[in-house]
Symmetry: C2
């Protein structure tokens, strides 16, 4: 009996899709990768995931776990492979407000967790564009980032405990609820970010933080990035580290946004070489009553305008204005992906090297394709740049060259060629070219130790 029949016998025919029924799983969000998987199976529990893996292991069948399938690196590409969708493991098992934690299954959609936390007066702070469809298991598998990493860290920083099914079907119980636990190697963080190549995440214990009670949001305009970074440190000093977002948009991005949305939509102060969206947040009742955040921000911005550090600044006076400011930033995917061909990257560089990186990268792009246009937005507060290029012509070799050059420049200033999207398939070349060789060897040794038959998401992450 083949693996597909075996899995059908195990889960029932309704939860084993083949052929055209797999279509929506077989194409990724970028449209770059399409494939017909051997089958898509939808186990309903950790025990069933374990049983499926035992069958796959016995028959040496390659397996690709999939969550919301919103990744950007082709990490769920599964030609002729068995896809395990975690969508039916969608229960929020517990929200424990006194201990500030949530126990969730892998298939829970991020936005559902946001809602459940909010109902308990709490907050799960990781958020990004695909929150309405991405799943917690995928967030953990890719160590998802987003706009709040500056204050709260990435997905790894939110996770206290994890449950994982191994390549051979055994279940690892790391479901700790503890903030301190030094009982052996940190397997949790090894599985987080391993893109389904070391095990399949089935459940997690996640930290929650107090709900935000007040915001202060502003658009800042200045001529250069270093001024913006100086201001960031000043706001952090004055507010005691309350900055939740510090998002940089260069003039060219703002111009494209305006062209797409019209002048009316543009928030005030957004018309400068360097436009920054700044948001402070506080969970304190006192700050909410006294409007304390806005006062702090007004004071710092006032000084910065006087001293010439800033050219322009506008504070949101109400929620509608705040939303208009965020709209400018959150339209990035629409604005940047509106034109094709496109070369998109996801690099991070040390904060004090962002300007250097931009200068170097700009020169390299121009020298390769003088008519190319660079369009980017950046989580500047953590050095993460979504640096995209609109090349002058459709030419795969040119696009590959441009992508490689951006990765090279990032690493040359001690940055990374993958800030938050992971490696998957798209960054295997950079991984091979740019990652420390000994680190790569250690990763290969770890992969071999945990998945000796190489059945878990083969061909991804490790060149």
């Amino acid at each position: 009996m083949g693996i597909v029949s075996e899995v059908r016998a195990l889960l029932g025919a309704a939860h084993v899709l083949t052929g055209s029924d797999t279509a929506r799983y077989g194409i990724d969000t970028t449209g770059r990768y399409t494939a017909v998987p051997l089958a898509v199976v939808r186990p309903g529990s950790t025990a069933e995931v374990s049983e499926v893996m035992k069958l796959a292991h016995a028959s040496n069948t390659p397996v690709v776990p999939v969550g919301g399938n919103t990744g950007l690196t082709g990490a769920t590409h599964a030609p002729d492979m068995l896809m395990i969708s975690l969508e039916r493991l969608d229960r929020i098992r517990e929200i424990r407000p006194a201990s500030r934690l949530a126990i969730v299954e892998a298939g829970v959609v991020l936005e559902k967790l946001h809602e459940a936390a909010a109902e308990a007066g709490l907050r799960y702070p990781v958020t990004f564009g695909s929150r309405g469809s991405c799943q917690i298991g995928g967030n953990l598998a890719t160590n998802a980032g987003g706009s709040n990493v500056l204050r709260f860290g990435n997905t790894r920083a939110q996770c206290l405990g994890l449950e994982v099914v191994l390549a051979d079907g055994r279940i690892v119980d790391l479901m700790s609820e503890l903030h301190k636990d030094n009982s052996g190697y940190d397997l949790r963080d090894l599985f987080i970010g391993s893109e389904g190549t070391l095990g399949i995440v089935t459940a997690a214990v996640l930290k929650l933080v107090p709900a935000t009670r007040s915001h202060a949001t502003a658009i800042l305009g200045t001529d250069d990035l270093d001024a913006a970074l100086t201001l960031l440190n000043e706001v952090q000093e004055a507010s005691g580290g309350a900055v939740e977002a510090f998002e940089f948009m260069p003039r060219f991005y703002v111009d494209q946004y305006r062209e797409m949305r019209g002048d009316a939509q543009l928030p005030p102060a957004a018309d400068h070489e360097v436009t920054v969206l700044l948001e402070l947040g506080s969970a304190s009742a006192r700050d909410a009553e006294s409007n304390g955040l806005a006062e702090v921000l007004e004071e710092v911005l006032g000084r910065a305008l006087e001293s010439g550090l800033l050219r322009d600044a506008a504070l949101a006076q109400n929620e509608a204005q705040r939303r208009a400011m965020w709209h400018l930033r959150e339209s990035a995917a629409d604005v940047i992906l509106a034109r094709r061909p496109i070369v998109d990257t996801d690099v991070a560089v040390p904060l004090d090297r962002v300007s250097t990186f931009l200068d170097m990268a700009g020169l390299r792009v121009s020298s390769i394709d003088p008519q190319a246009e660079v369009i980017l937005v950046s989580h500047l507060g953590d050095g993460n740049l979504h640096y995209a290029i609109w090349p002058s012509r459709e030419d795969t070799a040119l696009q590959d060259e441009l992508r490689a050059v951006i990765d090279d420049v990032a690493v040359s200033v001690r940055g990374s060629f993958s800030a938050e999207h992971g490696v998957g398939l798209t960054k295997l070349g950079s991984m091979e070219r740019l990652k420390d060789e000994v680190a790569l060897d250690v990763m290969r040794a770890v992969k071999k130790a945990l998945d000796p038959e190489n059945i878990l998401n083969p061909g991804k992450l490790l060149p």
Copy 2:
């Protein structure tokens, strides 16, 4: 030529100690483990650590790395093994205030880093009793915790990048300065907390936080722990998460302190079933100017006294009073270790199960040794209890039984038998008895992948 002669030729005789010259390395801080190592070598650079490891690897010589040797689990016990002391790798290579990071070598004493950060107007937030002699390499090898974990996380949470020498002498360069870096498996966190069994930490990139500009410190008295935890959440709500320490001391501990130090030393409000030392901290200039933290705290404590949640509370009015409050807590080692025999543990339990744990553990101890006395202090804010027992008599079997029972009870409420001290030798039994079996298997597979000859700190951490 034997390994000792080879290493002498490499490093010079002055940096290779043998026989009685090794005495201060051969005894641990608890006095429980003494041994004569084969030799203690003191390389002066990462390259030299690498060369020493190549020699050790070629000759299959077991190696034990050692920092300040302040660990409490026998993890540096090295009978007839080669000890590598990192003490000469003691440079703070860079403090970069704009990027809020420090690049340090493994042998830097924790307190030196505190001082260097303070000079730059910043703070390295990990701190604990042995800060004057413990070293950053050891802090990383054991993922050191302490009193500020509640707010800032443990050592792992401070580390951006790491340099590690492997069992075969190769150097892994993971010296990232990035807050976002998803380029492959998280090897950094795998090495952190691995107690020298997977590699030798030689350098690290550490995060710094803004210096604290104001404190509000108080002693709280109440009758039960749940009231204390309710209050913790109220203070966190009101202050926006500014609690840096929430340290619980039961009456018996306070009585012993008073006996040792005299009544005069006792801070006000410390005479209750449950005494808590609470400290808020803020880096904000505004809070410092307005005395904002003290106002918040007064308000919350006022309400709690009125409602009966608290019986008593006293705010430190000046630095001398604050120091007296901390003295009560920081005398724990002196007070608890004053009597022998002693059974000391280091457990963590979920916050909402601390009372349950204490009830269960107390009953078990009484049933085994009715005359035993329990003395403890606790980083209550993160569920970490240093639960110690003074048994009625000198009896190794009894002590071992008591220690095992405490670990068992902690794990039975989903806690851990090692919160912050690690496993080393003392907790191998609990590791074998209580750790998830599949997790143990994965750890063994990882160990074998990275150190196939088992020369790095053999016999520690993994049963």
